[in-house]
């Protein structure tokens, strides 16, 4: 008796499974990686990488402008180009992560190096100005003849 019930329900189960499969396929077709959700996930990832680079003193002007271009393309309805653009931003940002440490060090050396040069002007002036002045004073009078 239970066996007969299972057999009669088989078409129903098959139909339910078919509906679920169709729904899954439809959902995946509507939200592929290139869909709206996928695009915004890419934008978030790209923006996160850009900020990380920026906070480590890597210039991200170009990357930000390209991300902006991707957003404009998306608004214009050029979805494929927008996704390609934002993916290229992510790839380039990933490549730049390798120089984060170097950039931080370079910027610190540059910034405090320039500041140190400015600060050294005062002691250098104190030491060198009288010597330079005296040297110039003597050179200007090198051909003078002393008379009684």
């Amino acid at each position: 008796m239970p066996r007969r019930i299972q057999v009669t329900r088989l078409p129903l189960v098959a139909a339910v499974l078919a509906v679920i499969a169709i729904a899954q396929l439809t959902a995946s077709a509507q939200a592929p990686p290139g869909g709206s959700g996928g695009f915004w996930a890419h934008v978030r990832e790209a923006y996160g990488l850009i900020l990380e680079l920026h906070r480590n003193h890597v210039d991200t002007t170009e990357l930000t402008m390209r991300l902006d271009r991707a957003l404009v393309l998306w608004d214009e309805g050029n979805r494929t180009a927008a996704i390609e653009q934002v993916q290229s931003v992510i790839a380039e940002a990933e490549a730049l992560r390798s120089v984060e440490g170097q950039a931080r060090l370079r910027v610190a050396l540059y910034k405090y190096g320039v500041a140190a040069v400015f600060l050294s002007i005062a002691p250098l002036t104190y030491v060198l100005l009288p010597r330079v002045y005296i040297t110039a004073w003597y050179r200007a009078r090198r051909r003078w003849v002393v008379e009684r």
């Binding site: 923006y47 890597v58 402008m65 991300l67 957003l71 998306w74 380039e92 910027v107 910034k111 005062a122």
Partner: protein
Amino acid sequence: MRLLDEEVFAVIMALVVVGSVLAAATVARQDYVAVYNASATPPRFEGYRSLGVVAEGFTAIGLLNEHCKIGEYPQVVFLGERLPLCIYLFNYEGEPLVMQVRFKIVANTTEMPTNTTPSPAPVLAEYTRALYHNQSALIHVRVPIEAPPSLVGGNVTLVFELWTLNPETGNWTYTGRWVHLHARLQVLPGAGG
């Protein structure tokens, strides 16, 4: 004037000390970034770029007419039209920002946004841009004038709110800045009603 006279030399030294300390402080206060050419492998260093001194960061939003100029704003808007306007955005936060302008139509003053809360009215359009520090953008928009027909003949307020993408949470955060335009809502000529 004798340069090595004690008093003259003291004045010169005072000027030099003040000047050099000011210059050093200005350099130390500035933010710098290192510029790399990312298309080279490995990325090639190309120099430094100053971001200036960002004592207090801010963002700005402005509403301009369809020619991106101040003034001559539309006083009447038509139900169902796409109204051409221009939005100005500026980022001076010291870092790149992803900024979003959300357009809403408000019929009631209680629905207006405040410095802390956005308007509860539904979002009718969004415009998103990414701006680097100290960069501005002009966005030509055609905003949809969608409102209940019961509002026709009355005043409505077109509200543009500024939101930014929060990198920590991945959510949009209201900046507390908005611009708005009061206009009379009419039916498009020839559309009946």
